[in-house]
């Protein structure tokens, strides 16, 4: 099972088809124009240069859209030296910065690299070919750095959830054994007693016991101790079978859109658990949308390496999550709505189900814009030509 938290990141690959988006932060219009000439004459169509003269303009761009690499003059009218670099890094921590300045200063260059710049180039010393190469290398180096950090974060998160799962599963298992004894004796009381008062109390105990049992089942699912049989099933069929229920859960204010592959999408799964998982994610989306909005349920085939996998995506255009919230969503009893309102077990159960299917869950979320959960299944996919 792999858990992947996707963040806004550069799309780096050797076979990129789109031009590299370069943001030049330079307040000397003549220097900027000369660079523009270099890009036009020698950059071919590989680069797309955008120039801003002010730091606040750059920060605004970097906070709102993606840029592949930043070319930065450290000495601007409103900000000098490493202060300029810090401001840019804070606006776009995952975007590589190549410093391009007139000051050929070894000490400043070292400091700039220590403060997160990928390179330090001196105007007039570096030619356009070196500059283009430095930018490409900077993008690749930064991508390696970001990937490494994400991998470490993922590993920590997975270990944390595994530990929580072991603990929760262990407690739930023992608790469930005790509950079984309580429910068994209650059942006997109901069968054997002729006293109506005793029966009434026993029925109340049974009802609460069954609720407690349902709760422990969810915890067992999170702790991977509740495994059903995994059989070849059609993912589209599971979604279609849930369609009516989904529409009734989201209500008329939320448009439910089903983008299903027009063919069988085979996975090896426990269909009841998959339906449970879909409903948990749909409920989560409904709470995120709050009033009116859009819920999209999509099935598709995705390529990973040289393998094709079935993927189920449930996306909403609701309130989204902050990165801090996103870090905890799969932990049991974590809820943003308060434990009096929600048990905080919905997404931890989803995590448990995903684990049991040896699948992967990816979460993308932008605060104020929406959230998307994608579950990628291993193994079986669509047979060629199957409809």
């Amino acid at each position: 099972m792999t858990l992947r938290m996707i963040e806004h990141r550069a799309n780096s690959d050797g076979n990129r088809s789109r031009p590299i988006q370069v943001l030049l932060i330079e307040d000397n219009i003549i220097d900027a124009r000369f660079l523009d000439v270099d890009f036009q004459k020698r950059g071919e169509s590989r680069f797309l240069l955008e120039t801003v003269q002010r730091l606040d303009e750059a920060e605004k761009i970097l906070r709102t859209r993606h840029v592949d690499v930043i070319l930065l003059d450290l000495f601007l009218e409103e900000s000098q030296g490493l202060e300029t670099l810090s401001a840019v890094r804070s606006a776009a921590p995952d975007t590589p910065v190549v410093v391009l300045t007139s000051l050929n200063d070894e000490e400043l260059a070292l400091q700039a690299l220590k403060h997160g710049a990928q390179d330090y180039l001196t105007k007039g010393v570096v030619d356009s070919h070196l500059l283009f190469r430095a930018m490409r290398y900077a993008i690749e180096r930064k991508q390696v750095e970001v990937d490494k950090r994400l991998l470490e974060e993922r590993s920590i998160q997975m270990h944390k959830l595994e530990a929580l799962g072991t603990l929760a599963g262990g407690v739930a298992h023992n608790f469930n054994n005790m509950l079984m004894a309580i429910l068994g004796h209650t059942h006997l009381l109901l069968e054997m007693s002729g006293d109506e008062d005793v029966k009434r109390h026993a029925a109340a105990i049974k009802k609460s016991g069954e609720r407690a049992s349902a709760l422990t089942r969810q915890l067992l699912m999170f702790g991977h101790r509740e495994t059903g049989d995994l059989v070849p099933v059609d993912l589209n069929k599971i979604v279609r079978d849930s369609e009516e229920l989904i529409r009734s859960v989201v209500g008329s204010e939320i448009a439910a859109q089903f983008d299903l592959m027009p063919r069988v999408v085979r996975i090896k799964a426990d269909p009841i658990q998959i339906q449970h998982m879909i409903m948990s994610l749909v409920l989560n989306a409904r709470h995120a949308i709050r009033s009116s909005g859009l819920l999209v349920i999509r099935t598709e085939l995705v390529e990973t390496g040289n393998q094709t996998h079935a993927q189920l995506t449930i996306a909403d255009n609701g309130c989204g999550m902050s990165p801090e919230t996103r870090e905890h969503i799969f932990e049991p009893f974590f809820t943003t709505r308060g434990l009096a309102v929600a048990a905080g077990l919905g997404l931890s159960t989803v995590y448990g189900i995903v684990s049991q299917h040896a699948a992967r869950i990816d979460v993308e979320s932008v605060l104020g814009k929406g959230t998307s959960f994608s579950i990628t299944f291993p193994g079986l996919t669509t047979p060629a030509g199957a409809a």
Binding site: N28, I30, R33, F34, F75, Q80, T101, S102, G124
Partner: protein
Amino acid sequence: MNAGDSRLSDVMDFVLLSERLEGDMELLRDLAALYIKEYPVQLERLQSAVLSSDIPRIQRAAHKIKGTATSFAAAPAVELARELVGANDFGDGTEISKMAGRLSDELRRLHFALEQFCSGS
């Protein structure tokens, strides 16, 4: 030497610049026009910083001039701007005024040469 004596080859490495622009003289005219427009701003920024003896401002102004001069392959102006940026102690201000004066003169020469180039003479 005054500004009127200057030709492009005196104030810049014309061959290097032409190579950078791939011999595109029309483009050089555009860039020269941009310099002619920007030159008074850069000069005024330097002179006002010198008048107020504001060392950080002087160095910032010289730094910008150095960038521009580097773009035009104007080695004498680059060197004078570099001296001004790198100077640590300006003492009573006499030396800095002299250095800034020399740089201003060089900028005028560059300006004059580019104006002449633009006018085709």
